[in-house]
Symmetry: C2
Subunit: 204 residues, 2 copies
């Protein structure tokens, strides 16, 4: 599809779509032509949804998860156990764990994991924010629920070293998740069991 499209408006929409990860030029054209067939009001709503999301969404002031309010629904829910904090990479893992319905504590979204190859160091993550939460003294346990990749293990180790200065339990999800697997693609049963059977974090 080297050909310039006969319409610059169509071309612009195709270019925007093909900038999305995993979307090629042919798929982008197919999606743009699909949108052309939809009613104007629906395409209007489609386009505005991204602008509203990007401009109006916030990060929870407590746990850093994406939220419409200053503090998210999970952090303000008094029926949840506020003494346990589960540390995850992104909102995706929050959703995965919530789906298992096996966890009633709070979360802390790091916003990434330590990955020198991608230029992500500890200061690029919400680790200081986590330490401030812990320093307040209400948290009794921190569950490290990061992917079992090299970067995940490195981040766990880094966090463990920082958290053990406080006198609280540090656990990690049970190793039911295959090594090298991503949390996001683990089935709910395995993930649910592994967060329930979480184990003390050890340096082995």
């Amino acid at each position: 599809m080297e050909q310039e499209l006969p319409s610059k408006l169509l071309q612009a929409a195709v270019d925007e779509l093909s900038r999305l990860p995993g979307v090629g030029k042919k798929t982008a054209l197919r999606l743009a032509l699909h949108l052309m067939k939809q009613p104007q009001t629906e395409v209007e709503r489609f386009g505005r949804s991204f602008i509203s999301m990007r401009n109006e969404i916030k990060h929870c002031a407590v746990c850093n998860v994406l939220s419409d309010t200053d503090t998210c629904d999970i952090c303000t829910n008094l029926r949840r156990d506020h003494s346990i904090v589960c540390v995850v990479e992104s909102i995706r893992e929050v959703l995965c764990i919530e789906n298992t319905q096996q966890y009633t504590g709070l979360y802390h979204v790091l916003g990434g994991i330590i990955s020198p190859i991608d230029g992500v160091g500890p200061n690029d993550l919400k680790i200081d924010m986590l330490m401030e939460r812990i320093a307040k003294g209400d948290i009794k346990e921190v569950v490290l629920a990061l992917s079992t990749t090299m970067e995940g293990e490195t981040t766990c180790y880094y966090l463990y070293k920082k958290i053990r200065e406080f006198n609280i339990e540090v656990t990690t999800i049970a190793r039911g998740v295959g090594f090298g697997d991503e949390l996001e693609y683990t089935d709910e049963l395995t993930l649910g069991r592994s967060i329930k059977n979480r184990q003390p974090f050890t340096l082995n």
Copy 2:
């Protein structure tokens, strides 16, 4: 991903993306989170591109292709052969044929093919518009370049019956394209050769 997202704004964007053909809930979430990481101005441009496209794009008054102007660049190009019209299903086939650089005539975009199973009859397509073009008397040849599927063959037959009332040549692209294949996924060499070696349309 049955879980409601903690942000309604994010949920709205994910819902919009997952309505696109071939995009599931997980992909939609991945794309929405990708957009969240982009600068506000880029997401603004992303969202607006679809709204502008949908609201401002036109169909060429001559050939029905999507165009920013009342008459498209192909129809206004005087170096092209205005005596030949290639009939195609959609703008996608126009782009495929243009890519081969083997065709210098004009096009006519039907906007679909006759498909009783999908409830698409001749009156849903731009066939009358094609007949009016032919009735003007400047067209010497009509090339039927529809996919070699059952619906494509039916549409070709229908068009052939209507066009043969006029004293003009009706051709079809050479059968280099495998039967049952979609034009869109044919390699350029085969498609280029088959439009160059187009054959008189016969009822065999």
